[in-house]
């Protein structure tokens, strides 16, 4: 308890900002049906109605309430991005640590495979795979996670190689510890800092990739509300100085900044007073 209050007291202002924003997003995502005045795909008004008491942010091209879609969008967008990033990190860091720990042929094989995957342009590869396997949300999550995990692999391998050189790993090896213990108890806890810092940026890149895919017609499919495709759907309005498309984009930006603030703080905390 004392530890907790102490930790809370040390949280920097920017990290607080991040935590508050992320919490609000999570709450909104969780209580979307309660918060949103209308349904996610419900058609409730005319086309492109202006901001009003009835429709806080107006309506979209089908007459759906934009505010409600924004709220539901939190669910889909944040949910998918988090899930994808987590999957990428789970897979990438596990393989990275495994490569660093076992070394030898596995390391070589993984290293070369990742080289190959990274050398193929990500967007094109995603496009190819999504076209082959179909654009369901599950497929999208898995494919983006796979492509993203290559970057995580590199990072975690590099970090783990340093940890593996530590004496406590040698001590554990000399004890005859199994691979599972080495990875999950000894190595992973020591590479969380760089991983978390990377998480912030990767999280944001997942958004970008999803919305880039939606630009190419392969993103999250309508009528599901997600911020990336909401930006895409109304992006044309920007040319006329309309602010509507800015709102979902700002929602993404705010979340990105918030997540990175938390990541920065975490990194700062775990590396001492360096930053």
């Amino acid at each position: 308890m004392k530890d907790l209050t102490k930790t809370l007291r040390q949280i920097s202002l920017s990290a607080w900002f991040g935590i508050v924003v992320v919490s609000v997003y999570i709450l909104v995502a969780f209580f979307a049906p309660v918060i949103a005045p209308y349904g996610e795909t419900e058609i409730v008004g005319g086309v492109f109605e202006p901001w009003s008491d009835e429709f806080l942010l107006g309506t979209d091209n089908l007459g759906r309430d934009l505010y409600s879609r924004l709220v539901y969008g939190a669910r889909n967008t944040v949910g998918i991005a988090i899930l994808t990033t987590l999957l990428a990190f789970a897979f990438g860091s596990l393989m990275g640590v495994l490569s660093a720990t076992i070394g030898g042929w596995l390391d070589q094989l993984m290293g070369r495979s990742v080289d190959v995957l990274m050398a193929i342009p990500q967007l094109i590869f995603a496009l190819l795979l999504l076209t082959i396997f179909g654009t369901s949300i599950i497929n999208m999550i898995l494919i983006i996670a796979l492509l993203d995990s290559t970057r995580v692999y590199r990072l975690s391998r590099a970090a783990a190689v340093n940890v593996v050189a530590m004496d406590y790993i040698e001590a554990a090896k000399l004890r005859g510890e199994g691979l599972g213990y080495l990875i999950f108890r000894e190595i992973l806890p020591n590479i969380t800092a760089p991983l978390v810092a990377e998480f912030g940026l990767r999280f944001c890149y997942v958004f970008l990739l999803i919305s880039a895919l939606s630009f190419l017609g392969l993103g999250i499919q309508p009528p599901t509300a997600d911020w990336g495709s909401m930006v895409r759907e109304s992006a044309n309005l920007i040319s006329f100085g309309e602010v509507t498309p800015l709102i979902p984009a700002l929602a993404i930006a705010l979340l990105t900044v918030a997540v990175n603030f938390i990541a920065d703080w975490f990194l700062h905390r775990s590396t001492g007073l360096k930053g």
Partner: protein, 318 residues
């Protein structure tokens, strides 16, 4: 020292060739697995089974995939990438100018973004944890959290509709360099917005990470000014990391521009690749993918060589 560098280069080039070979197999299989083939895509619904068969026979698509791949591979090994299946033009002719354009855009973007990112990164490290640092951080993060096409639209709204720059960058061979550069400003700025944040943050992080080093404290105790500490003492040691990050982003500038090309109607390789995937024009897809992969491999190699050269410990043996 030179022996070690050249053996590194040779080693990596060999590996690169193997990588390219594997990629060509993956891409070939990928395109094969795509629903539909070139015949169907081109004929559309006007296709009858007979006409599709005739078409396939004409293009050799009726032969087994392995045979076609091997034939393609033999061609590539002897320096012949073949011709586009869709419109019969030679790959080299089809891609030559576009590759040049892609590199030109990448070059322009790099010219703006690299100095910008390095300067911002150094300044952010110098004034770490100040309002400047936080402000840059927020700005760059916001910039990268906007999808590329959106950044492009905003730039068009702000800079093209007000008449400063053209909204489309349809450069062509008969333009002067200045005109090309002028027309390429907006796409280059868009790419800059996309890549600067990563390079800047990594530069800042790499520098700050070094600030705890004893030699940095030593420099400060020698009476070296903070700016000189960062530039003269920290930066050379962060070069290895910075070079690698730059290489990664340069690679992105070359291979990741599909969307910017579409929005600004820029005649580069990305659009060609996407169109060819849509048409299942496998020879063009292969050639484009290999060029992109080669860019990635070469840039990484270059980064490794440069960061080796930047590190006296690696080139001056004991």
């Amino acid at each position: 020292m030179h022996a070690s560098i050249s053996s590194l280069v040779l080693n990596r080039l060999l590996l690169g060739v193997v990588t390219l070979f594997v990629i060509s197999i993956i891409i070939f299989c990928g395109v094969e697995l795509l629903p539909g083939d070139l015949a169907q895509e081109i004929l559309g619904q006007s296709a009858t089974p007979e006409s599709i068969a005739a078409f396939r026979q004409q293009l050799g698509l009726d032969r087994p995939a392995t045979e076609r791949y091997l034939e393609w591979l033999l061609g590539v090994v002897s320096g012949d990438f073949g011709a586009s299946l869709a419109n019969g033009r030679e790959i080299s002719e089809l891609m030559g100018e576009r590759l040049g354009n892609t590199l030109f855009l990448a070059g322009m973007s790099a010219l703006i973004s690299i100095p910008l990112a390095l300067t911002l990164g150094v300044l952010a490290a110098l004034y770490r944890n100040t309002a400047f640092d936080k402000g840059t951080s927020i700005c760059t993060l916001t910039a990268i959290s906007y999808p590329e096409f959106f950044v492009a639209y905003i730039l068009i709204f702000l800079l093209a509709q007000t008449g400063f720059f053209p909204s489309i960058s349809n450069i062509s061979g008969d333009m002067s360099l200045m005109e090309k550069a002028y027309r390429t400003v907006l796409p280059a700025l868009t790419m800059t917005m996309v890549v600067t944040a990563h390079m800047m943050r990594m530069t800042r992080a790499a520098l700050i990470n070094l600030l705890g080093s004893p030699y940095i404290e030593m420099a400060r105790l020698k009476g070296v000014s903070p700016a000189r500490v960062i530039v003269r003492h920290a930066l050379p040691n962060a070069l290895g990391i910075v070079i690698n990050v730059i290489a990664l982003n340069l690679a992105y500038l070359v291979v990741g521009v599909v969307i910017v090309e579409v929005v600004f109607v820029y005649p580069g390789l990305g659009q060609l690749l996407v169109d060819s995937v849509a048409k299942r024009d496998i020879t063009v897809v292969q050639a484009c993918s290999l060029i992109f992969a080669m860019t990635y491999v070469l840039l990484n190699l270059l980064a490794d060589v440069l960061s080796t050269l930047s590190n006296p410990r690696l080139i001056h043996q004991r």
